[in-house]
Symmetry: C2
Subunit: 222 residues, 2 copies
């Protein structure tokens, strides 16, 4: 089966959700899933599911649904999760610890090779069999090891210098948790997890509801 | 100044980023910012910035830029961050701890009133002046206190029951970190932080680059 040239962005954004749900179905020993059932799990319509999956070739047979292991393996290949990704985490605080303790990453080929931190109490600790090294040694470490992804879990004001250092050492990707928009060279990919943006997005929608409920009331004046 | 009826979704998604950048500019004592400078910080074009800000009324004066405190206050109002949001966190592990230790939430009116956990070692601890309570007591707690947002930082298989319990007690919003798609009633808002989806999205883009580099090579066969 041929993978079409490029998966549309909207579909690409949904792929991790497909993968996650198919993985869950697999652990539930479900062998086939209909577009209705998959849609219900993912909050999409059955027709949306069929359209998405048609984008990469068409897997279902009318009335039979999708073969869970095949579709999961295929989407995993598109996502590149069947490869091995070497990672280091900079910042061994709560976020860094959450990432290294995340149950499914290792299974999906994401391997944390080292943690880096600035705090003398954390340096020298071993977290999930991974050592916490002094952040001063990051540059030398990146020079000596082939690292694909750097996880930035530092305060906002330290993040850009880590990116610059990583770029100089040919790291390919940044996974950023610091609450700041970073500039990366065209040679690098970046994904951000901005906790405060997510929370504010939620508060925005709560506020929109309040405004709708008080419709007619002028709620902002200047 | 009148707030237009509804902020378009694409603009709404960028609002937290605006707020965050304006907050940073404020701490840097910048009083006015041009659409060029703001765009550069946010990875948007100047024209995009002007269009977005025009959506909610038009603030800049040609050649003078935007008045940082006014625009920040206004966007903060739209985001509802000037209100007070009472929160509880279910799950006092790394994610729960990361949320409660996040520096800016408290300043923006998000108050964590209690943590809940199942682990006897965690129950009874005090984190950032907030007690860790047994999760058995969550229902009674929600009945006795007015809570706006529940942060779900539990394993995936415990998350839906927390939502159901919260819905029954009229909680208005769920901030979900569990790696699962939850169903919420129409009376509730939900925002998800799916770490594994974010990491897989990054791996997808790395993989796309590899594929582009090896163009012509058939990389998936069945």
């Amino acid at each position: 089966m041929d993978h079409k040239e490029r998966v549309p962005d909207a579909v690409a954004r949904r792929l991790p959700g497909y993968y996650r749900n198919l993985r869950e179905l697999e652990t539930e020993d479900v062998l086939r899933v209909s577009s209705q059932v998959l849609g219900k799990r993912m909050g999409l319509t059955a027709s949306q599911i069929r359209q998405d999956i048609n984008c990469f070739g068409g897997f279902g047979q009318q009335g039979y649904g999708y073969h869970v292991p095949t579709l999961k393996r295929y989407i995993g290949q598109i996502l590149g999760v069947d490869g091995k990704h070497q990672m280091v985490i900079v910042g061994a605080g709560n976020i860094g610890s959450a990432v290294i303790n995340y149950p499914s990453f290792r299974k999906e080929g994401f391997r944390v090779q080292a943690l880096f931190d600035i705090s003398p109490e954390r340096i020298g600790q071993i977290v999930q069999e991974v050592p916490v090294l002094p952040v001063d040694e990051l540059e030398a470490y990146l020079r000596a090891h082939s690292i694909d992804i750097i996880v930035i879990a530092t305060p906002a004001d330290k993040a850009q210098e880590i990116v610059d250092l990583a770029a100089a050492e040919n790291v390919r990707a940044i996974w950023n948790f610091a609450p700041v928009d970073l500039s990366v060279p065209a040679t690098m990919e970046i994904a951000n997890v901005h906790l405060s943006d997510s929370l504010m997005g939620l508060s925005f929608r709560l506020h929109e509801r309040e405004v709708a409920q008080e419709k007619g009331k002028q709620w902002i004046k200047e």
